[in-house]
Each structure stands twice: as C-alpha cells, then as structure tokens.
Amino acid sequence: MAVALTTVTMARMKVAMLRHAFRGTRAQTAGTGAVLGALLAAGTIYLAFTDSDLLAAGYAVWLLGWILGPIFMGGGDETLRPEYFSLLGLSPRRLAAGLLVSAFVGVAPLVSLTALLGLLVAGVRLGVANALVAVPAMALQLAVFVLLSKVSVAVVGLALRTRPGAIVSGLLNGAILAALGQIWVFFMLFGQTGVPAVVWYLPSGWGLLAVRGEWWALGALALLALLLLGAWAALLSRRAGAARPSTRGRRPMRPATANGAIVAKELRTWSRDLVRNHQLTFALSYGVCFAASPLVLGWDGMLPYAGPIFIVMAAAMTSNLYGTDGTALWLTLMTPSASDVRGRQLAWLSAHAPVAIVLTVAFTAVTGGPWPLILALLPALLGGATGLVPLVSAYGLVPGTDPHRRAGNPLRTSEDDGGLTGLAYLMLVLVLLTAVPAGLVAIWYGWAGVAVGVVTGVLCHWGFGLLAERRLRSQGPELLDVMRTGRKPQATMKFRFEQLSKTHKTIAWWCFGFGAIPLVPQGIIAAVFVANGMLRHTWFLATYMPPGLRYPVAAAFVVLGLAMYGTGVWVVRPRSSR
C-alpha cells in the first residue's frame, strides 16, 4: 500500500514537472522527438507483419538505443532526481520502485510501448493464446528496456567518479558505438547474410520468443526485470554523495596575458573535469575503432581517417561548450576587454590537435596514403571545429545545469537532453561540411587540396570565432539569462507575432508555409530535370514548356519562392520601438 502510494505520488509529480518543462522550444524538441519516435515505432510494427527475424532485430536496436542513448545524450531522463527523496527515508527498493513507475511516464516509454505493439500483432497472427501472452510480454519488455537504461547510466555514473573509470568507460563506449556503426564489417567477417541469430537471445528478443510459444521467456523477462530493479536500487544507494573531482598535480598558472589565462583555465578544465575526460577518450576511441574495424577484413583503406573522425566526434561532444560552464559566463560579461572566444579556440586546439595530428600521420604512414586528401582534411576540419564549437554553442546554447548544482548523475549536464542531442548532430554535419571544399579539391587536383584545407581552416577559425565573439558581445546578457532561468526567450518572438494584424498573420503563414513549393520542386528541382533532359515529368511545370521557356519558367518559380520568403520576413520583421 505504502509502495503504491509512493509510486503514484512520484508519477503525478513527474507529470506535473513535465507539464512545466514542455513549453516553448523544449516542447518543440519533444514534439520533434515524438514524431521521429512514432515513425520508428510504426516501422517496427510494420516489421511484425512481415518477418519475425527482422522484428527481433528491430527490438535489439530499441534495446541498444535505451542503453547507449542516455550515455551519449545527457544522462537520460532525470526529471525526478533520486536526491529529491533522500530526506524521506525511503528504502532503496521502494525508491527504485517509485522511480521506475515514474520512469514510464514520458515520451520515450510511450513511443517504445507503441513499438512493442508489434508483439501483439505477432501474437494475433499466431493465435489467441499467443495474443494473450503478448500483453504481459509488452509490459515486461518495456520494464526491461527502462531498467537496463537506468542501470547502465548508473554504472557509467559511478565510473565517472574516478579518472581511470572515466577513461575506461569512454574507451568502451566509443568502441561499442563504432562497432555498431561498422556492423557491416562483422557481418562480412562471419559470412553472415540476413539477421544474425543472436538477436533472438538478447533480452530484447525474449518477449517475441514468449509470444512465439516459448513460455519460459516470459518468466526470464520477469526475473531479469526483478534483478535489474535490485541492481538499480543498490546503485541508487551508492550514488548519494556527489562525485569528488580529482585533486592531484596542481601546477601554478604561468601565463601573463588574458588570452593565456583563458587557455590555462580551459586546459585545466579539460584535464580535471571527468566528464570532459570521458568525452575526449570517447571521441578518440570512436575515431580509432571506426577507422580500424575494416582491418579485420584485411582492408586498411579507412585507417587514415581515424584522426578526421576523432575531430568531428570531439567537436560534436563539445557542441554545448558555453552551456556546460553554466552561469560562469557572467565573468566573461564583466571583463569585456578580454576575448573569451579566442582563448577557448586555442584551448580546444591544444587539447585536440596534437592527438588528431599524431593519429592521422601515424595511420596514414601505415597505409602509405592517400596523403593529399588526408592532409587536406586535417587542417580544414581542425579549423572548422575550432570555429564552429564556440559559434554553435553561442547561437544554439542549451542551458546547462551549473556544475556545482548538478546531482549525482555526472552525465546529466542539462535538463534539456533533446536539445543537447540535436546540437551534437548539427555539429557533426556542420564540421563535416567545412571539409567539403578541401576534400573535393584534393580528390580532383591532389596536393592543391592541402592549400585549400589550410585556407578554409584558417578562415573558419577566424571568421566563425569572430561571429561567436560578436554574438557574445551583443547577446551576452540574454545568454546569461537563458542559463540562469533554463528557458530560451521565445516570449519576445511570440509576442511580436501576436502583435501582427490578422491580414499580416495570414500573409506570413502563406509565405512561410508554401514558399518552399515554388522555390524547391518547381524551381530548383525542375531546373535540374530540364538540365538532365528529363521532360514531361509528373507535376514539374518547367519540364512541360517549349524549349526556350523551360529555364525561364524554373527561374521564375525560384524568384517567386524567394519573394514569398522575403515577404514573410518583411511582414514579421522586428519594428523599431513604436
């Protein structure tokens, strides 16, 4: 009874907190996540209608998502922190049970439960008894997903209390994620075609086994859930007491300039913050393992890319550079004469470039090339990363929890893990893009690419850094406010839109809503079709025109699309104070 009361209370508390949290931009992130998740869930259910091997593989992917996702994406859902209840004198088991039930409240469990409807579909296709078994199987399977996620986060959290733990877990996590990314290598190695049988025997496959008539699997799921609950309860009681940062090797600060001081501060943070230790070793391990895994097939062609991959991954890991420092930004605001961005860029470079250069040169020497391409990518990516890290973190700032206020889960640097994930992916793509010019020139013209790489690298470092600096100068107080309150200021934007007259609103809706149609399909894509001689193509108007009018029509659509966007922007543009 008491347990039931605790769990119900905790679940209601979580609902209340989510209602407050899912406002403004976070509601958008959550909404985007829910839509993507629903698509994946629908795909999984679809597999239940086709091939049960694929369905088992699908659930294995969901399982890995639950285990690995939180480790890379901000420590998992922790709306209810265990610390909130530490004064209530709950037994660890009761606390874990309560937290478990509240962990089922949220977008991710709901989406996963939808995906697990595939079990019901599979059951119905087999018979009545199988369909009946599917219902408890769904619940137990979801419990196992959630609990495995909680236990893995707790284990990594414990590891992150010591430097060796942080480094080892970084190496392991990087290796696992790289192996998943290169799964084809292992398929080829084992001559495997189709789905490996192992997916049936992972805990993610047990629900499906039970539905298919192997009833023991249902008991095994229940037992596993109980064991995991016990393990989590034990880990929760060990989490009390915040992580102690290491206190060894204090060397005095030697620099004599403001820039030098920022570099020294950042480098100390890199070496002393165990979460940053973890991120750095993770990126390193990911780069090496990803590039080296084809070696098991006897192919070393990917090896030279270990360094470049490391740079891209490390940039993604640090995409919320300013957010992780929290409100310490006030010191930057109070010392406007010093340039924080330049110092941080230098520090990023000195923490990552030596590793990247050694990796790249050593591995490329092993394979004997392709030197021009690799040496073009290296400076381009390094410059791109040092430019984009401050820029993206200053523009896309995800408010973090101040380091001294963080709870027992060291991976949890922000309440908005959806935002962190989005920012990391954005950084991956943007950093890759900065190397495209150098890469293309190197492929086409060889050594000229190196010069291009150096030029674009320097330009990105300088230019993006300048933009980041300007952003900090002009919007510094607003960024500090975001970090202090944890909310992005969408109020002014919304306010502005609300102020528009009804006609203006309608015009803006039409322009933003439909501007893409003339611009992209009827304009750009139609022009591409015309250029490739693909005529009379479905609804692309330009392809139906007589020869002399095709390009002008496509161009006119491009102009129309741009004009619609321009009108939209003009209608909602900020007016000077009225």
């Binding site: 940062p245 206190t247 204090r250 403001a258 100390r268 943070t269 101040d402």
Partner: protein, 272 residues
C-alpha cells in the same frame, strides 16, 4: 591577520579624486524589467553618492537582484539606464565595468580551478600585471582565510567559501565601486566580521559600496544610506536616519512592505 588586512586595504583602495566628487558612483534611472506578464522592476531611480555605503533592502522577490544585475550590465533592462561614475554600463561597457567589482548571488565560477587559480585567471582577464595579480591573490586568500584550502577546487567549496572567493574576485582589480548581492548569506560569523572590516576599510579609503540584504540589523550596522525596494519600486530611500526615523529599520521595513491585514499567523498544528 590585522597586519595583512591593513596592507591590503592600503594597497587596494585608492582615494577618490576631487573632480569626481560630484558624479554619483552609481546612478540608476528608470530601470525597468518585465518577465513575461510580471513587472519585476518598475522604473527604479536610485543614486549612490561617492563614498557611501548603500544598503538595498527588500523582501524575497522584491526585485533587488534584478535591479543590481541590470545596474552592472548582467541583465539587459527593458528601459532605463545605469551609469557607473558617469559611464553608461550599456553604451561604454569597457570603461564602466573596469570600475566596478561585482559579487552576484548564486552564479557559477570557473569551477575546476582552485581559489588562487580563479584569482590569477580573473586578474589576467582584467589586464593586471602578472606579479600584481600574484601578490593581490596572496593577500586576498590570506585575509579571507582561503589560503588553507589551496588544493581544493571551487566546485568543492561550501556556500560560505563560494561567497568569500566571489568577494575576492570583486576586490581583485581594486575597483572604485562594489556591488554585492547578499554578501553575508551563509558566511560564518568570524568570516562575516572579517568581511565587514574589509568593506568598512574600502569605504574609508574612498570607495563606494552597494549591497543587498534582507538582514536589517546588518544593514543598520554597516550602511549610511538605505533604499527599501518593494514590488519592483522604491518604497523609501535616503540616509539611514531619514528612512528609519525614530524606529528601528526592521520596524520601518515591516511597516513599509508588510501587508496591513495580514497579521502574524501561527501554525497551530505544530504544537504538541
């Protein structure tokens, strides 16, 4: 200890020059801030004369922190302006911010540095000479009794120690104005006495201080000027005697901001 204290005071705080006597150390005019529907600060005007020890008192949520944040350039006001020794905080931030030392309430520091490293870092950011920074850091750590924890990172500091290192960063560049948000909160009595001595010495040396607090006794003890902030406006301002009249500051304060019909209630279920 007193010897070091005297040294610091003499070294750190310069006297105000005569031509600046007329300019207020801090002048706030019409500062306004709205958070959503709530008007947090409603067109506040305040003037802090040079050499004064100015206390800002008010209930929780009255708008003290918001006002001080806007006054030093950490929060952009919706309207109004703030000038430090005549320099506009928003138009000439470099000159204005060089003259002020700030202790904000509850903001983060460079957490993975030791106290000494924080001071070194900030001193260099402020453009001070390396040797000067080292000497001042040594003095400040000794006076604030933080020199015994030289291997401890700021993230491991207690709340009171965080206040003290915050105060050290505010004093480090020998500013002419100190803006301190709740400087005595969570500070033990011995350290509080030290801090009071430092602050009095700072004012005696020609510096000006604005501090916010909701401990009336403390404000009465330290400040010569007071402003009472209530619901985002100035309920009363002037010299300490002008504001409190014949009563104590606490009585005046309750009279000014307390709800008339809302007498003191007791929690009857607490008695056994």
């Amino acid at each position: 200890m007193p010897r070091i204290l005297a040294q610091t005071t003499a070294m750190t705080f310069s006297l105000a020059t005569p031509e600046h006597i007329m300019t207020p150390a801090l002048e706030i005019s019409g500062l306004t801030k709205r958070f959503g529907d709530k008007l947090a600060v409603d067109a506040i005007d305040l003037s802090v004369p040079q050499g004064s020890f100015f206390g800002l008192v008010g209930q929780n949520g009255a708008g003290k922190t918001t006002t001080l944040s806007m006054a030093v350039g950490l929060l952009r006001p919706d309207d109004g302006s703030a000038r430090i020794f005549g320099e506009d905080v928003w138009a000439a931030p470099e000159r204005a911010k060089a003259m002020v030392g700030v202790l904000p309430d509850g903001l983060a520091m460079p957490e993975r540095l030791t106290g000494r490293e924080v001071l070194t870092y900030l001193g260099l950011l402020r453009g001070l000479d390396k040797e000067v920074v080292a000497r001042r850091a040594e003095d400040l750590l000794a006076v604030l009794e933080l020199d015994g924890v030289d291997k401890t990172l700021v993230i491991e500091y207690s709340t009171g120690m965080r206040k003290k290192i915050g105060l050290a960063t505010a004093l480090l560049h020998a500013p002419r104005l100190l803006v301190l948000d709740e400087p005595f909160e969570a500070v033990d009595p011995v350290s509080a006495a030290t801090i009071k001595t430092i602050l009095r010495g700072f004012v005696a040396g020609g510096g000006s201080i604005v501090l916010s607090s909701h401990v009336m006794a403390l404000v009465e003890q330290l400040c010569d000027r007071v402003a009472v902030i209530d619901k985002g406006t100035v309920a009363a301002a002037g010299t300490l005697d002008e504001v409190r009249g014949a009563n104590s500051l606490e009585e005046t304060f309750v009279e000014l901001v307390g709800e008339q019909d809302n007498g003191l209630k007791e929690l009857s279920w607490l008695s056994h």
